[in-house]
């Protein structure tokens, strides 16, 4: 197999805000990303996803460990690494005072493209992300979803070998999110290597070949979404709602049913191979849930199992 385009080994990043206390926002992270692969970093906020993205993107240095991006150490070859990477940041960092077109054009200039190339690339990307009609609009007048698309377009001005996406669909409505997923899927099909940091299980599952589950800067588990789900979550989940304040009590009475139980404040999750049959067993025990739902397990269940808390809180 070809060498990985990203190789991280025991990556450590001290939290710059922590001051004297040795808090690590990334604590011993190791993973490889093959060319053309799409890797997800899945975890709730504050688990070191952004810090990892910034280290890969040669935007911030690392405190320890080894890191190679495109065969180069980002700490020593920042300009080289950044010139072949696209970074879509979590926070909107567009210049609100200039137009959509200018935002792209200006950024393209930084890569040493000629004025003509910048214009061509800008027009091409605006068309690709459905922003051509807004080309002359000032960014401050642009709706949120269009701004997000513009951020993605900006990350593509240099035809990057690796695209780093840091929570690219946060705050978006479902429709806009799905539209962006389509774009990412197309890029992935086109062979772009993608690293996606996200707190959304569905996003990681949808877009990633492999997922690294993160909690407090450490790896909980890694593998393909299917592998992770099969290994840690079982086949189906039965969601039971007994009404607020009743779930804990009901959870105690469900003991022994299914493979595993998770009692949450608003519902009880029973993991089992066959959800319907499990539901029948619940009813047989004389329990009367207000709401029931049988579904396939997903990466959120895996996270709940391994971290002992919900992915999105």
């Amino acid at each position: 197999m070809a060498e990985p385009v990203i190789h991280a080994e025991s990556l450590v990043r001290a939290d710059p805000d922590a001051g004297e206390h040795d808090v690590l926002s990334v604590d011993g992270l190791s993973f490889d990303v093959a060319r053309g692969e799409s890797l997800g970093l899945l975890g709730p906020g504050g688990t070191g996803k952004s810090a990892t993205i910034k280290m890969i993107g040669a935007v911030s240095g690392r405190t320890g460990g080894r890191l190679s991006v495109l065969g180069l150490d980002p700490d020593d070859f920042g300009p080289e690494v950044r010139s072949r990477l696209g970074l879509v940041p979590q926070h909107d960092s567009l210049d609100p005072g200039i137009s959509v077109h200018q935002n792209l054009f200006v950024y393209a200039r930084y890569f040493g493209l000629s004025t003509r190339e910048c214009t061509r690339k800008t027009d091409e990307l605006l068309a690709l992300l459905g922003l051509s009609a807004d080309a002359r609009t000032r960014v401050e007048r642009l709706p949120l979803a269009a701004r997000r698309r513009l951020l993605v377009a900006r990350g593509l001005v240099n035809d990057p070998r690796i695209l780093l996406l840091d929570e690219p669909t946060t705050q978006l409505d479902t429709r806009s999110r799905l539209a962006l997923w389509d774009r990412f899927a197309a890029l992935r099909e086109g062979g772009t290597t993608i690293v996606l940091a996200t707190p959304r299980a569905d996003e990681a599952q949808q877009l990633c070949d492999r997922v690294v589950l993160l909690d407090t800067g450490r790896v909980l588990a890694a593998g393909t979404p299917d592998e992770l789900i099969r290994r840690h979550a079982g086949r189906e989940a039965l969601e039971l709602q007994f009404g607020l304040g009743q779930n804990r009590q009901a959870g105690r009475q469900l003991y022994g049913i299914g493979d595993r139980l998770e009692v949450l404040p608003d519902r009880v999750l029973v993991y089992a191979d066959n959800g319907e049959r499990t539901l029948a067993a619940v009813v047989d025990r004389g329990l009367e849930p207000v709401n029931t739902l049988v579904r396939r397990t997903n990466l959120a269940d895996v996270f709940l199992r391994l971290a002992g808390r919900m992915l999105e809180e």
Partner: protein, 291 residues
């Protein structure tokens, strides 16, 4: 590791060596000219408000000059003894106003645009994700300010020269770099200060009123330093504005003052500028790292 369907990977050479070589090729231009991209960005971004700013920076000393020539100078018929020469009041005041013009640009350029780059425009954190190095971003910002200062001082100098207030045009132009470097000695600390702020809560205006304007007055701009009481002249000696003004004057008069005094002016403003640059750059890079 799971790799997707082989047909999806591009057909070109995908060895790490090839990717590394490609990255080196792409980074070559930004490594060489990156500071200029940052300069371009600062000049472009500040174009709209920047032209107003340039006019203001330019108009202020012109209006001063006009006021002084038409008003004050008629009240001061005697010649001014300064920097080892005896000159008319207008000739005396013009080189110092050249420094003031550069200073007015520095007071603007190293304040709001720096803060805005970190906050509202976020241009610095965006630049940090580009191939540019943090040092190039700092240098680009400084170069943009130098360009603006040069434009204003050249224009101002041309007017002073046209009204015949430069006795020695052969050396008079040296006042332009003296003014620019002199302005940088105050611009750099301001840049460091602006890099430490998260919002402009009126502190730039405070710096302008309490530091810059009084400094201009106490630096022998409108009257020779010797006119001040002895205990106040030290402000002038320590002020890079005074040293820059004196240097511009010597260049404009083309005579007087011993070489040693001129050398002291040059060393003083150069030293201030270099130390200021190092500290301002450090503060800027630290802020950029946090962004």
């Amino acid at each position: 590791m799971i790799s997707r369907d082989a047909s999806a990977t591009p057909a070109d050479d995908d060895s790490l060596d090839a990717l590394r070589a490609e990255a080196r090729r792409w980074a070559r231009k930004p490594r060489r000219r990156g500071f200029w991209y940052a300069t371009e960005d600062m000049l472009r971004a500040n174009r709209t408000y920047g032209s107003a700013l340039l006019i203001a920076a330019f108009a202020q000393p012109i209006l001063y000059l006009l006021g002084l020539v038409l008003g004050l100078a008629t009240l001061i018929p005697q010649r001014i003894e300064d920097a080892g020469a005896s000159v008319s009041y207008v000739t005396f005041v013009a080189p110092a106003l050249l420094v003031t013009a550069a200073l007015a640009v520095a007071a603007e350029e190293f304040a709001s645009p720096v803060l805005a780059g970190f906050t509202q425009r976020q241009s610095f954190s965006v630049l940090a994700t580009s191939p540019l190095s943090p040092g190039q971003i700092a240098n680009g910002l400084i170069l943009a300010a130098i360009i603006r200062m040069t434009v204003v001082t050249v224009a101002f100098y041309a007017i002073v020269w046209a009204i015949g207030a430069v006795p020695a045009p052969a050396t008079g132009w040296i006042g332009i770099p003296a003014a620019v470097v002199g302005a940088l000695t105050l611009g750099f600390p301001l840049m460091g200060f602006a890099s430490s702020l998260t919002e402009d809560d009126g502190r730039f205006a405070l710096v302008q009123r309490v530091v810059f304007i009084p400094l201009v007055f106490f630096s022998g701009t409108f009257y020779p330093l010797s006119a001040l009481p002895g205990w106040l002249t030290w402000v002038g000696w320590l002020s890079p504005v005074w040293h820059a003004s004196e240097l511009a004057r010597v260049a404009s008069y083309g005579e007087g003052e011993d070489r040693l005094a001129t050398l002291v002016h040059i060393v003083f403003i150069a030293l201030f500028a270099v130390i200021g640059y190092v500290l301002a750059r450090r503060a800027f890079l630290r802020r950029l790292d946090d962004a």
